[in-house]
C-alpha cells in the first residue's frame, strides 16, 4: 500500500453517484449501475469470451447499431423500484378485485347479449397468447438492456403482461361457467392460430420475439406492438364493449391502460434518451419503418372483426401514429 496516498474524503452515497453532488433518491441508490456484464464489451460474463452466451451479448447488445456514451444515465420517469411497484399494483389489484366482486354480485355475465358473448370468445379471451408473448418479449428486453434502469422498466412491463394474462384467464373461466357453449377455455388456441383477425398480431409478435437486437426488440414491442395492442385490443375493444353493455370489460381495459400509460412514459423517455445521439435517429426511423406496416396490418385485421366499430381501425392507427410522431419518429 502506498504510504503517500491521499486520504479519501468520507462518502455520502455510492462512489459512482458522488459526482452528482446531490442527495440521491431511493430510486437512484437501488437502480443505477447494477449491470456489471456491461463492463467488458467483449466478454459480458466471466468465462471464455467465445461461449455462446458471450457471443450473443456481443451480437445483440454491444453490437447494436444504437449507441450512447453513458447508458447508466437513463432514468425511469416514474422512478419505480420493486418496493413501490408492489405497493402501486397491490392497490390496482384491489380495485380490480372490487370490480370482479361488484359485477359478480350483479350477475353481469348472465345478462350479456349472445352476439357479444361470441365476440368475447373471439376477440377477448384469445388475448392471453399475445399477452404472454408480450411478457416473453419484455423479459428479453430486461435481460439484454445495456442499463439496469432500462432493465427494471422492462421487468415491470413483463409483470404487467402476466397480470393481464391472469385476469383474462380468470374471466375465461367465469365466462365458460355461464356460457358453456361458446368454446371458452378450450377454443382460444385454435382462434389465436387460425382466426384471420389475430394473424396480424401473431405475425408481428412472432417476428418481434426473434428481433434479438435489444433495441430493435424495444422498437418492435414498445413503439409498435404494444401501442397497436393497446389501441385495438384495449381502447377499441373497450369502446365496443360499452356499446354492448359490457361495462365490466370497459372498466378492465381502462385499468389495463393505466399500466400501458406507464409503459409509454418510459418508452418516451428512452426514445428521447436515444435521440441524444443524433446517429441513433436514422436507426430508430429505419426500425419504425420496418415494423409499423406489420403493426398497422395487425390493427386492420383485428378491428375488422370488432362488431359495430367501423372507425376502430383508423382511430387506433391514428393514435399509434400520433404517439410515435410526438416522439419525432418517422411513422
Amino acid at each position: 500500500m502506498s504510504e503517500t496516498a491521499q486520504k479519501l474524503k468520507p462518502l455520502k452515497t455510492w462512489s459512482h453517484l458522488s459526482k452528482n453532488r446531490r442527495r440521491p433518491s431511493e430510486y437512484e441508490i437501488v437502480s443505477v449501475g447494477l449491470h456489471f456484464s456491461t463492463n467488458d464489451p467483449d466478454c459480458a460474463w466471466e468465462q471464455d469470451a467465445g461461449t455462446f452466451m458471450n457471443q450473443w451479448y456481443r451480437d445483440y447488445r454491444e453490437g447494436s447499431p444504437v449507441n450512447h456514451e453513458d447508458w447508466d444515465t437513463f432514468r425511469d420517469p416514474d422512478e419505480l423500484v420493486y418496493r413501490t411497484y408492489n405497493i402501486i399494483q397491490d392497490g390496482q389489484e384491489n380495485y380490480v378485485d372490487g370490480l370482479i366482486k361488484e359485477f359478480d354480485d350483479l350477475e353481469h355475465d348472465q345478462g350479456l347479449q349472445t352476439e357479444w358473448v361470441d365476440a368475447l370468445s373471439k376477440l377477448y379471451t384469445p388475448g392471453r397468447y399475445i399477452l404472454h408473448g408480450l411478457q416473453m418479449a419484455s423479459v428479453y428486453l430486461a435481460k439484454m438492456a445495456p442499463a439496469s434502469t432500462i432493465t427494471n422498466c422492462a421487468t415491470f412491463q413483463a409483470a404487467d403482461s402476466l397480470r393481464w394474462l391472469s385476469h383474462i384467464a380468470y374471466r375465461t373461466k367465469q365466462l365458460s361457467l355461464v356460457w358453456p357453449d361458446y368454446g371458452f377455455v378450450d377454443n382460444e388456441k385454435h382462434i389465436w392460430e387460425n382466426a384471420p383477425h389475430w394473424q396480424g398480431f401473431r405475425e408481428l409478435l412472432e417476428k418481434a420475439l426473434i428481433a434479438y437486437d435489444w433495441c430493435e426488440t424495444f422498437v418492435a414491442i414498445n413503439l409498435v406492438l404494444k401501442p397497436a395492442f393497446d389501441e385495438a385490443c384495449l381502447r377499441q375493444l373497450g369502446h365496443a364493449a360499452r356499446r354492448f353493455d359490457d361495462s365490466f370489460l370497459g372498466f378492465l381495459t381502462d385499468a389495463q391502460a393505466v399500466d400501458s400509460q406507464r409503459s409509454r412514459r418510459w418508452t418516451s423517455s428512452l426514445v428521447q434518451f436515444l435521440q441524444q445521439n443524433e446517429a441513433n435517429q436514422d436507426v430508430l426511423d429505419g426500425w419504425v419503418e420496418k415494423w409499423v406496416p406489420l403493426g398497422d396490418q395487425a390493427i386492420d385485421m383485428f378491428c375488422a372483426a370488432l362488431p359495430d366499430s367501423p372507425s376502430a381501425a383508423d382511430d387506433a392507427k391514428r393514435d399509434c401514429w400520433s404517439f410515435r410522431a410526438g416522439l419525432g419518429l418517422s411513422a
Partner: protein, 499 residues
C-alpha cells in the same frame, strides 16, 4: 356465480404455448438459449411447478414482506447497532452485501433467460416472478447498506465489488457465470434453482440469519430470512424440469450439470460463508459451526432432495464430506493473510477461547491450522506485522479462482492438479475442479484469472501495490485485522510489544 379460486383458472394462464407460423420453432427457441438437452416441445407439456402463486397474490404478499423488512429497519435505528457491533460482524455485512447484492440482480437476468426461453409456460411464468424476486434482492440489499457508506468506505463495495477486478469478485462472477448467466434456460433451472437455491441459499440466508439474530442484528436477520422466502418459491422451478429430463433419458447429462453447479457453489461458500460462521461471528453468538450448518442443510436436506428426484449424490461426495473439515479453514487463513486485497476486515477468530471452540468442532484444528496461527501470533507479538502481510499473490485455481489450499502440519497435502489444454497449462485446487474443466473445456479455456493477467503484464506495476490498484482498492478500502490484533494479547506468552 361464486368468485373463483386460483386453482379454477390457473391452468388457463399457463396454457399459452402455440405453434409458430411466421418464424420457426428453432428461431423462437434456439437450443443454445433454451434447452441444451433438446427435449421435444410436447414433452415439456407435463411441466408442473409445485409452488404456485398468482400475480394478485404475489404483489400483495411481497408488499407485506417489504413493509415488514423496511419497518424493522426504520424502527431499530440501525446506525446505533452498527456503532456498537463487533468488527467481525461488520465484516460479515460488508462481505455479504458486496458478494451478493449485484449477483442477485444478475440472477434476475438468468430468471429472464428462463422466462423468455423456457419451454414450458409454467416455467416462464414462475421465472417472471423469479425475475421480480431477484430485482427485490438486488435493490433491498443495496438500500440497507447504503446508509453505512458515510461511516465506513468499505460499505461502498456493496455496489462496487462486482464491478471491480478484486479476486473475490472474479471468483464470484466466474462461479455464477457458470451456473446461471452463461447458461441456457433449462440448465439455469437445474444449476441455479435446483443445485444452488434449494441448497446453498439456505446456508447464507437461514444459517446466517440465525447467527444474526444471536448477535442482535434483528434488521439483517429479518432481511435475509425474508429473502429466503422468495428463494424457497422460485427455487422450485428446477425440480419439475429435472423430472422431465430424467423421464426423457437425460439423467446422465442432468446429473453432470447438477454436479458441476454443486461443486462451484461449495467452493464459493467455503470462502464466503465458512469464515463468516466459524471465524467472524463473535464466539458467544455462534449458533452452530459452518460444518454443522452444512451437514444440516446440505448433507441432510439436499442429499434427500437429490435422491428423491432420481439423481445420485455427486460422484465426489466423499471428497466433499472430507472437505467440510478443511477447505474453509485454509481459505480463511488465505483471506486473513491477504487481507489488504479484500474490502472487508477479516476477523482472525484465533484467540485462545476461539481455538478451543474450533478444536471442539474440528478435532485436530490446533495441530494443523493452529500451527500457522501460532506463527502469526508470534510475529505480531514480536512486532513483526510485516511478516503477516503478503508481498505477492498466491497461486489460484483456474476453475474457482480461489487460492489453492491444503491442510498444514503433518498432513500437508497441497498439490497442483494441473491440466494441459491447447498449449496452455491450467492449475486446479482439486481433482473436482479439474474434472469440471474437462467436461466443457472451451467454456473456460480462454478465461484469464487474476494471476494469468498478472503474468501477462496487465497489472502494473507488477507488484502487490499494482495488484491492489488493479483490484480497485484504495488504502481506506483495504482490509486489515478486524480487531487490530487485540485477540493476540489474550495469549499468555512473551512480552507484549506494540504493533
Amino acid at each position: 356465480m361464486a368468485l373463483l379460486n386460483r386453482s379454477d383458472w390457473y391452468d388457463i394462464a399457463r396454457d399459452t404455448n402455440w405453434t409458430p407460423k411466421y418464424v420457426t420453432e428453432e428461431e423462437l427457441f434456439p437450443k443454445e438459449m433454451s434447452d441444451c438437452f433438446d427435449v421435444p416441445r410436447e414433452k415439456w407439456e407435463t411441466y408442473d411447478e409445485p409452488y404456485k402463486t398468482s400475480y394478485r397474490e404475489y404483489v400483495k404478499v411481497q408488499r407485506e414482506k417489504d413493509a415488514g423488512a423496511y419497518s424493522v429497519k426504520a424502527a431499530l435505528g440501525r446506525m446505533k447497532f452498527l456503532d456498537s457491533a463487533d468488527p467481525g460482524w461488520k465484516s460479515i455485512l460488508k462481505l455479504h452485501y458486496g458478494g451478493i447484492a449485484l449477483q442477485e440482480y444478475a440472477a434476475g437476468m438468468a430468471e429472464a433467460t428462463m422466462a423468455r426461453f423456457g419451454r414450458a409456460p409454467g416455467m416462464r411464468n414462475m421465472a417472471t416472478f423469479g425475475l421480480l424476486d431477484e430485482t427485490r434482492h438486488g435493490q433491498i440489499q443495496l438500500y440497507f447498506p447504503h446508509e453505512y457508506v458515510s461511516k465506513d468506505r468499505q460499505f461502498d463495495w456493496a455496489h462496487k465489488a462486482m464491478h471491480s477486478n478484486d479476486w473475490a469478485a472474479i471468483a464470484t462472477r466466474h462461479a455464477f457465470a457458470d451456473i446461471m448467466s452463461g447458461r441456457d434456460a433449462t440448465s439455469v433451472a437445474l444449476m441455479l434453482t435446483f443445485a444452488f437455491e434449494t441448497a446453498f441459499t439456505n446456508m447464507q440466508f437461514l444459517g446466517l440469519a440465525a447467527d444474526a439474530a444471536e448477535v442482535g442484528d434483528v434488521t439483517f436477520s429479518n432481511l435475509i430470512s425474508s429473502i429466503q422466502t422468495d428463494e424457497a418459491r422460485h427455487a422450485q422451478i428446477g425440480t419439475p424440469a429435472l423430472k422431465i429430463l430424467i423421464e426423457n433419458g437425460h439423467k446422465e447429462k442432468a446429473q453432470k450439470l447438477v454436479d458441476i453447479a454443486f461443486w462451484r457453489n461449495w467452493r464459493l461458500f467455503a470462502v464466503v460463508t465458512g469464515p463468516s460462521m466459524d471465524y467472524y461471528t463473535p464466539l458467544a453468538k455462534r449458533e452452530k459451526s459452518f460444518k454443522e450448518f452444512m451437514v444440516e442443510w446440505i448433507v441432510g436436506q439436499f442429499e434427500r432432495n437429490i435422491l428423491d428426484i432420481g439423481l445420485d449424490v455427486p460422484w465426489y461426495w466423499d471428497t466433499f464430506l472430507e472437505d467440510l473439515n478443511t477447505t474453509h479453514h485454509g481459505m480463511h487463513l488465505g483471506v486473513w493473510y491477504w487481507r489488504p486485497t479484500v474490502w472487508w476486515d477479516p476477523a482472525a477468530g484465533a484467540s485462545p477461547d476461539e481455538r478451543d471452540w474450533l478444536e471442539e468442532k474440528y478435532p485436530g484444528w490446533n495441530d494443523t491450522y493452529g500451527k500457522c496461527w501460532d506463527v502469526i501470533i508470534d510475529n505480531i507479538k514480536n512486532g513483526r506485522e510485516d511478516l503477516t502481510l503478503p508481498e505477492t499473490l498466491p497461486i489460484v485455481c483456474n476453475m474457482n479462482h480461489l487460492p489453492i489450499v491444503g491442510v498444514p502440519g503433518k498432513k500437508w497435502d497441497v498439490r497442483d492438479h494441473y491440466l494441459d489444454y491447447k498449449g496452455r497449462r491450467y492449475h486446479f485446487g482439486s481433482k473436482v475442479d479439474r474434472w469440471v474443466f474437462e467436461q466443457d473445456p472451451d467454456r473456460y479455456a480462454g478465461h484469464q484469472g487474476l494471476i494469468d493477467r498478472f503474468l501477462a503484464g496487465k497489472i502494473q506495476p507488477a507488484n502487490l501495490e499494482g495488484a491492489l490498484k488493479y483490484m480497485g482498492l484504495q488504502p481506506e478500502d483495504c482490509g486489515k485485522d478486524a480487531h487490530d490484533y487485540a485477540w493476540v494479547w489474550n495469549y499468555n506468552k512473551p512480552d507484549k510489544v506494540a504493533v
